[in-house]
Amino acid sequence: MDGGAARLDAHAHTAQNRTMLSFAFRRFLSAIPTLLILIALAFALIRVAPGGPFDTEKQIPPEIEARLNEAYHLDEPLYQQFGRYLTGLAQGDFGPSFQYKDFTVTELIAAGFPVSLKLGGLAMLLALLVGISVGTLAALRQNSRTDHVAMAAAMTGISIPNFVLAPLLVLLFAVTLRWLPAGGLGDGSLINLVLPVISLALPQIAYIARLTRGSMIEVLRSDFIRTARAQGLPGREIILGHALKPAMLPIVSYLGPATAGIITGSVVIEQIFGVPGLGRYFVQGALNRDYTLVMGVVVFYGVLIIMFNFLVDLAYRWLDPRVKL
């Protein structure tokens, strides 16, 4: 009987590993068409935009323009260019930048991404820490003054777009109070990131706090919390040991959209604060019709978001063992 159970257990274990592998594989397969559609859309959109990469205020002689177009294969039919791009991409080559002529797109991404990652990662961390704490507190004191104030603040946070919020913060903390620098990375110390991180995190804090409050209130009403109370566990242990994990499910599903939100947010925030991150390259690339740079950033972020959503699904499975991958 015992041996049988152990075998059964081992069997269940390998079965679990197998479903995990097959899940990862399925996700990998389904990511390919998603990416292809993304690339095609981005390719089409940037080509539809009027103007080209070599339009400048001064007219370039036509023969030079023709030579340029030839050098960058812009004279080929679009489908050929698309095919060429995909072939390069499959080999990990994002192509040369049209604007920063001495750099490849890969080099630009490698330069900008660490800055953006630091900014976005810190913003996400802050959003989770503060959002979950505030939301839990509001849930525990449901309908009290704390709750009402926290939720009103959250509502405001959601309503104000960060391109409005950021200049206001700069005005207050940098210009009037002179506590914090107004922009740039300065000597690279963290103090320069305080305002950008806060501007980026605030709307997410607000949203996560509201989500946490709602799901926590629901979890606290469930039968198994009543059981925990009947077992004489103190409130702290009930929250941390029993309620937090199930209450985190909606937050985890929100992490995917939140990442996307922080990425698009950082495009604006980096511009406002003059942070030399990927977002700034993206905006400038779009303005200059730097086709390869824009495409490169889009593909890079696309892959990033798909990977992140995969991680989110794994976290979901860990939080709720009933979920089938």
Partner: protein, 622 residues
């Protein structure tokens, strides 16, 4: 621990509750205060079992929750509950936390939701020991495993790593009990501990509680609506109604010499499995004897429904590139016949396919194989339009009375809906006349017609559901657990109503239930299902008096009988384990994994239905 050690004179009861009241003041001035419990007093001696019985809304659960300090914050409590020299009602949460889970524990009705689905079982159990006895997690897990052993959970150590959803309902309730007993409490409060379980599992759990009580000497406060459970397990009984105590005394006194009208009526309203003479169920609050409409006055006519080797299957899980679609065979080849005016009862534990069979017969789900012939027409061959017309002749009544009525439609609209479908030319006035007539036939006032479902009680909602099913004058009505969600007294009214209607309209009924006593009461013939197959079919009395299939025998012996002397002297065939997963049914005879008679042949050969005595049985040994 200090709480348990507190000095207590030996003649004092373990718990003395005096003048307990629970009320909920209305939030607005015009809202009335709800008195959930009024002036309740009782004692529990060490090691005894006190049952609190009553129908829903009687205040039995509210009383228990108030002892544990688990009432919502809006509740007002009064009175006292002295346990080990302290008044439970006036302790703050901190002091209460030293007692609950340790000296007093509680288990709840639904083991599916009462365990945390997100946390491994071992962790849920060890927390209790770490908190109350200061154990390290390692030691706590060891003690938890020993306790799981004690409640007969097989492979206890492995279970600790599992999550609740990986276990059956019966296993989960064992784990609830084990967790509650970890700190060797002096009092265990059990709130409807077996209500959500199948009868065979209920019998296992009740036996377990009985044995544990003898081993540990724990006093039990058992809250239940089931008189049979009380008759088997309790020393004393307290009957409640509308928040008040009606009667309290020893089990024998309450069952045989009750001084209270309500108690007597309640007992009379319970259909009994061992009752030889069918009778009309007594209705609480209506002591006049009505004309008996028993089974014999409902003659059976010629066959109107034939089901031939019906199979219903569902795909389970999604297919992957390396995973074929797995099928759950909910109904695996069931054949039956039904005559006009006949009632066929279908019983079986959850997952046996009885509801899928009903849906298959009505063509509400895709039928994988087999034929259903109603009044000479094969339903599977009809096109959509013809099938829709045939639906007038076959209707269904659902289990959850409120959930099966659209909350945004008035009663008149709900009941008239089949008329819209089947008689689209009928005028609104004519429809309303019919609705009014049928509501009156159901014992509902015509004035209810413009109200909405949530304004009605469960029993009234079920009458509305029946009115909707019958208004288009069907010939076949399938009742899928129509009384399972209702209180005993309401159940009696609905069962009586169905039997009367059958007699008046010559209906053929398929009555699906897990309550064998109710099925015995209403059915001409009874079919027992197990894992999608027929185990046994026979005329009602033959099946109950001389069951042939070992599963039928076990089912019948598992049903508690509301009669202490009978109940305590019965020989029980306790079935071990749970129903196997229908995704991976055992080879050969599906029942062999739990069957006391199983041998090699049962694993190799699937038994077909054959005649044995007065039954058709699918068993090699019957």
């Amino acid at each position: 621990m200090s709480v348990q050690m507190a000095a207590r004179p030996n003649d004092d009861p373990l718990l003395r509750v005096e003048g307990l009241s629970v009320s909920y003041p209305g939030g607005q001035p015009d809202q009335q205060t709800i008195h959930a419990v009024r002036n309740l007093s009782f004692v529990i001696a060490a090691g005894e079992t006190l049952g609190i019985v009553g129908e829903s809304g009687s205040g039995k659960t509210q009383s228990a929750l108030s002892l544990m300090g688990l009432l919502p914050e809006t509740a007002l409590k009064a009175g006292s509950a002295i346990f080990a020299g302290r008044d439970l009602l006036s302790l703050d949460d901190g002091k209460l936390n030293q007692i609950r889970g340790s000296a007093i524990s509680m288990i709840f009705q639904d083991p599916m939701t009462s365990l945390n689905p997100h946390i491994a079982i071992g962790r849920q159990m060890s927390r209790v020991l770490e908190r109350h006895q200061g154990m390290s997690r390692r030691t706590a897990l060891k003690v938890a495993a020993e306790m799981l052993d004690a409640v007969r959970v097989p492979d206890a150590a492995d279970r600790l790593r599992q999550y609740p959803h990986e276990l059956s309902g019966g296993m989960r309730q064992r784990i609830m009990i084990a967790t509650a007993l970890l700190c060797k409490p002096q009092l265990l409060i059990a709130d409807e501990p077996t209500t959500a379980l199948d009868v065979t599992v209920q019998a296992q759990i009740l036996t377990l509680m009985h044995d544990l009580q003898h081993e540990l000497g724990t006093a039990i406060l058992l809250i239940t609506h089931d008189m049979g459970v009380v008759a088997g397990l309790c020393d004393r009984v307290l009957v409640m109604r509308d928040g008040q105590m009606r009667e309290c005394g020893s089990v024998n006194k309450v069952f045989y010499e009750s001084q209270d009208n309500y108690t007597r009526e309640l007992l009379a309203a319970v259909p009994r499995l061992d009752e030889v003479q069918p009778r009309r169920l007594a209705v609480v609050g209506d002591s006049e004897a009505e004309a008996t409409a028993d089974i014999d006055s409902r003659p059976v006519g010629d066959t109107m429904l034939t089901v031939d080797k019906l199979e219903v299957r569902f795909s389970a899980g999604r297919p992957g590139p390396f995973r074929p679609v797995q099928f759950l065979h909910a109904v695996a080849g069931v054949s039956l016949e039904l005559g006009r005016g006949e009632t066929l009862g279908i019983v079986g534990e959850s997952g046996c396919g009885k509801s899928s069979l009903a849906r298959g017969v009505l063509q509400l789900v895709d039928v994988h194989a087999g034929r259903v012939t109603l009044l000479g027409e094969e339903l599977g061959m009809l096109d959509k339009q013809r099938l829709k017309q045939r639906r007038r002749q076959m209707q269904i009544i659902f289990q959850d009375p409120l959930a099966s009525l659209d909350p945004r439609m008035t009663i008149a609209d709900i009941v008239a809906e089949p008329l819209h479908t089947f008689f689209p030319t009928m005028s609104r006035t004519r429809q309303l006349v019919k609705v009014k007539a049928i509501l009156e036939r159901m014992g509902l006032e015509a004035g209810y017609m413009n109200r909405y479902p949530h304004e009605f009680s469960g029993g009234q909602c079920q009458r509305i559901g029946i009115a909707r099913a019958l208004i288009a004058e069907p010939e076949l009505v399938i009742c899928d657990e129509p009384v399972s969600a209702l209180d005993v007294s309401v159940q009696a009214q609905i069962v009586n109503l169905l039997m009367d209607l059958q007699q008046d309209m010559g209906l053929a009924l398929i009555f699906i239930a897990h309550d064998l006593a109710v099925v015995r009461h209403i059915s001409h013939r009874v079919m027992v299902m197990y894992l999608g197959r027929i185990a046994e079919v026979a005329d009602r009395d033959a099946l109950y008096n001389s069951p042939r299939h070992p599963y039928t025998q076990a089912l019948i012996s598992a049903v508690p009988i509301p009669d202490p002397r009978v109940e305590r002297n019965r020989d029980r065939t306790l079935l071990a384990g749970d129903v196997p997963s229908p995704l991976e049914p055992p080879s050969g005879c599906a029942f062999r994994t739990r069957c006391p008679l199983a041998d090699a042949r049962c694993a190799a050969e699937t038994p077909g239905l054959r005649t044995a005595g007065e039954s058709l049985v699918a068993c090699h040994h019957a």
